[in-house]
Amino acid sequence: YNSAVLFFLSVFQQRIEIHKLRDGDNLILGFSIGGGIDQDSNSSQNPFSEDKTDKGIYVTRVSKGGPAEVAGLRMGDKIMQVNGWDMTMVTHDQARKKLTKKNEDVVRLLVTRKSLENAVRQSMMQH
């Protein structure tokens, strides 16, 4: 039972390491983000968030074959941390800045995924 609980806690959130791709002068990650505390959280526009007042940063698009897809990022992921910086209560622009720092080649994201939660819950119930 203890191991199941630890499993439960650790798999709700996933750590993803993306290596930025150099494209001329820019470093790109290959996905798009939406959300932020300064955004208008109209529920129809954010199908990924469970709670309609959630102002976190969500992954809205993942470009095919880009570094993000290779690292395992999926559309609909909610980004909780970027390199240790909290992403749950930031503005859209702050999130963008944290992801596109010019002197960083690697970003380590902590994400949660609804499908992950459901999967873990189902497996918990089976036990």
């Binding site: 790109i28 990650l29 983000i33 955004q39 526009q45 809205t60 859209h92 963008r96």
Partner: protein, 529 residues
């Protein structure tokens, strides 16, 4: 909950004091019934009947206990119907008699006489200065040259202006009779008197005695007097009229009977002048005082204390004990009144709802009746008047013709809203004729009956507010200050006036560049990283 805790303390005492009495079981019964009552009542009376000196507690309790024995025979109930033996008409008549007092008129005439004398003195002094040399030493006077004659014209016109100005400022019909003298006016009159006297003194000593020949000098002296008088008049305008124009205090006026409140902004005035301003505004701002509206709350208040009477059975027990007894008695009464299963709030609610319904029904009937009555009248045009075909009426006759059809509905409505004493048949017909003459609609005619208007709207005999008394702790000629409170008492009610200073306003400015108004749409923006 508070009631219960204090209550149990009280009854604990009573239980304890009567523990040794023969009426043991009765006291227990009453204790039980009282505690039952307290658990049923939801009042939150926080009067703490203190566990005072047991001696006093015992006495009052013993008094109630004895009363309980034969309370049926000895209770008195205040019913509240036989309180007044004077009808409202009697009171109005008495107040009218008070109106004809002689003392006030005397003061008014004295004031007028004094001011007329002062005015004449002031007016004739320059003329006297000019004429006296010609009368007393005409031969020695140097002839008046051109400049001197020019000065004559200036004296004449300045005197004329002074005369008109004094008439405009001082000789207006007085609006009110004040209890004390008007300080500024008295000061100004004194100033003018001293001024003129000093001029006369100088004139008498230096010119009359020495019989000066320089007539131009004398004329210039007279001109300077008139100039100085004009400047004193300017001072009078500033002190009497201009100083109180700038609002400085905000006065809150509340009527004591029904709480109607108004606010007025006044400048720096003395208390009596402020009272006059307030009374002038009272007649137009406050709804007319209707004593019939107050009887309901009075009867409710009387019912609260009905059936409660505290007897002091232990006889005179000395002064110290008497005060203590009275205090504990009144506390006992308040506590007992709070404990009683009182459903008067329920009665009030249903009574008011019923009254509201009745008023609305009567009002609907009245409006329909009046509208129907007005359709029977139509105005004849000029051309039609020429070929008049009998039956042509003037407004008064027209009003009398349509009045009977609405009279009953109107009377019923006025009775329901307790306004029937404010309007007489004659006044209603006059108002109807007035409305017909001026092409008013039925709604305009009804407006003065559906809403209670200000006191000025009604005839003078309905006002019930003529003779006013100013009650103030500070002297009435002293100026208004922040926190001044005074009362304006009438026979039936009083107006309570409190003063507050208007705060000093510090205004700051902020400049906004018109080009700085820029906007951006906030959508679910998506950024690729």
């Amino acid at each position: 909950m508070d009631t219960e805790s204090t209550y149990s303390g009280y009854s604990y005492y009573s239980g304890r004091s009567r523990g040794s009495h023969r009426h043991g079981e009765r006291s227990r019964d009453r204790h039980k019934s009282r505690s039952k009552e307290s658990s049923r009542s939801e009042k939150s009376v926080t009067i703490n009947a203190p566990p005072a000196e047991p001696l006093l507690g015992e006495q009052s309790v013993r008094g109630e206990e004895v009363q309980d024995d034969n309370w049926g025979e000895t209770t008195t109930a205040v019913t509240g119907t036989s309180e007044h033996s004077l009808s409202q008409e009697d009171i109005v008549r008495i107040s009218k008699d008070l109106d004809d007092s002689v003392g006030l008129d005397c003061k008014r005439y004295l004031n007028v006489a004094l001011s007329v004398i002062l005015g004449l003195v002031v007016l004739l002094t320059p003329l006297a200065f000019l004429i006296l040399p010609h009368l007393l030493w005409p031969d020695r006077l140097r002839t008046c040259g051109t400049a001197c004659e020019g000065l004559f014209i200036s004296v004449a016109f300045k005197l004329l202006i002074l005369l008109l100005a004094v008439w405009a400022l001082f000789f207006r019909p007085p609006r009110a009779g004040l209890p004390r003298i008007f300080v500024f006016r008295a000061l100004l009159a004194t100033l003018v008197l001293l001024f003129v006297l000093s001029y006369w003194l100088f004139y008498g000593v230096r010119i009359l005695d020495s019989q000066d020949e320089d007539y131009q000098g004398i004329v210039q002296y007279a001109v300077s007097l008139v100039d100085a008088l004009l400047f004193i008049h300017y001072l009078a305008i500033v002190l009497l009229e201009l100083r109180q124009l700038q609002p400085f205090f905000s006065l809150c006026v509340t009527r004591s009977t029904d709480g109607a409140t108004q606010h007025y902004n006044l400048g720096q005035l003395s208390i009596q002048r402020a009272a006059v301003v307030i009374l002038e505004n009272y007649y137009k701002d406050f709804p007319v005082h209707n004593p019939a509206m107050l009887t309901a709350s009075k009867s409710r208040a009387a019912k609260h204390l009905a059936g409660l009477k505290v007897y002091n059975v232990d006889g005179p027990g000395g002064n110290n004990a008497a005060a203590g007894i009275a205090q504990s008695q009144s506390r006992a009464m308040i506590a007992a009144a709070a404990r009683r299963r009182d459903s008067s709030h329920n009665e009030l609610y249903y009574e008011e709802a019923e009254h509201e319904r009745r008023v609305r029904k009567r009002r609907a009937r009245l409006v329909v009746a009046v509208e129907e009555a007005f359709t029977h009248i139509c105005r004849m045009q000029e051309e039609e008047q020429k070929k008049a075909s009998g039956d042509v009426m003037d407004p008064r006759e027209a009003a009398q013709a349509i009045f009977p059809s609405m009279a009953r509905a109107l009377q019923k409505y006025l009775r329901t809203t307790r306004q029937q004493h404010l309007h007489s048949m004659e006044s209603i017909q006059q108002h109807l004729a007035f409305c017909i003459t001026n092409n008013m609609t039925p709604k305009a005619f009804l407006e003065s009956y559906l809403t209670t208007g200000p006191t000025l709207q009604y005839g003078k005999d309905r006002w019930l507010a003529r003779q006013w008394t100013l009650i103030s702790e500070a002297s009435v000629t002293s100026g208004l200050k922040d926190g001044t409170i005074f009362l304006l008492k009438c026979i039936d009610f009083s107006l309570v006036v409190t003063t507050k200073k208007i705060p000093y306003i510090q205004l700051a400015e902020e400049f906004i560049d018109p080009k700085s108004h820029k906007f951006v749409l906030r959508l679910q923006s998506e950024t690729s990283v």
